[in-house]
């Protein structure tokens, strides 16, 4: 049986009410039409991470995002998210943001190409309407501009 996170999140929220999980107001589904070896892939992470030279995220309600180069040689990566589980991923952000693994799979021919930039934002903000009306459309636009065929979202 999978580990249950919601009871712990509720306990951590106290005395505030438990965090409300929000579904998108409109459900969308787009069929996968391209094989992986022809697809351009991008990563999205809610870890509020960035290249060290980029401006820091400001916990906890920051609605900005960062364009993170997909070249793993460009770094180092810093995680700004306030979550208590950050001690381990801060030792090695690749375990939540696998830029190097993605580049490795590209070199093996599994993927067509990588988006030149991946994207990072702050997970767990308590402003779902602004996320849906501002942040999500901005990220979606970025992905279309980068001509991405498949977006991988890694929750933090």
């Amino acid at each position: 049986m999978a580990f249950e996170y919601l009871p712990i999140m509720a306990q951590n929220s106290a005395p505030k009410p438990p965090r409300v999980l929000v579904k998108p107001s409109k459900f969308a589904w787009c069929a996968v039409t391209k094989p992986l070896f022809q697809s351009r892939v991008a990563l999205l992470t809610s870890a509020a991470l960035r290249v060290e030279s980029q401006p820091p995220f400001v916990p906890r309600e920051d609605l900005s995002y960062r364009r993170v180069p997909s070249d793993p040689a460009i770094g180092p990566i810093v995680i700004d998210h306030h979550s208590g589980i950050g001690a381990v991923p801060k030792q090695d952000p690749e375990i939540v943001f696998p830029r190097t693994a993605l580049a490795s799979l590209l070199s093996r021919g599994l993927l067509g190409s990588l988006s030149p930039r991946h994207f990072s934002f702050m997970g767990g903000v308590r402003k779902p309407e602004q996320v849906e009306k501002e942040l999500a459309p901005a990220l979606a636009y970025e992905l279309t501009q980068a001509e991405v065929d498949l977006a991988l979202l890694v929750p933090y």
Binding site: I8, L36, G84, V88, P89, E94, L105, L111, A136, A140
Partner: protein, 94 residues
């Protein structure tokens, strides 16, 4: 939002209970502690293995809202002792 613009998405996550409530269009479940989705620190081989499993699963989604289990265990012996440590970590460091 992203799918509405014609870009398929895949969520790769460790929290089955959260994914089952949020219902992403496609979700791949990795049975690892949160914050270690692609393995322990500095284990590039495992990072690649988990990511490759997730990517090859993309074609298997036949309808919206499916969560597919990648069959990734955190411990090589199947032990779930990490759960107790993670629970303490999450409660201690909040």
């Amino acid at each position: 939002m992203i799918e509405a613009l014609g870009i398929p998405t895949l969520v790769i996550g460790t929290a089955y209970d959260i994914m089952s409530k949020v219902v992403p269009p496609r979700a791949a479940f990795v049975d690892h502690p949160v914050g270690r989705t692609f393995g322990p620190p500095h284990d590039r081989e495992r990072n690649v293995a988990v990511l490759a499993k997730a990517l090859t699963e993309v074609a298997q989604f036949t309808q919206p809202g499916m969560i597919r289990d990648l069959g990734c265990d955190w411990s090589s012996d199947g032990s779930r002792s990490w759960e107790q440590e993670l629970r303490a970590e999450m409660l201690r460091e909040h």
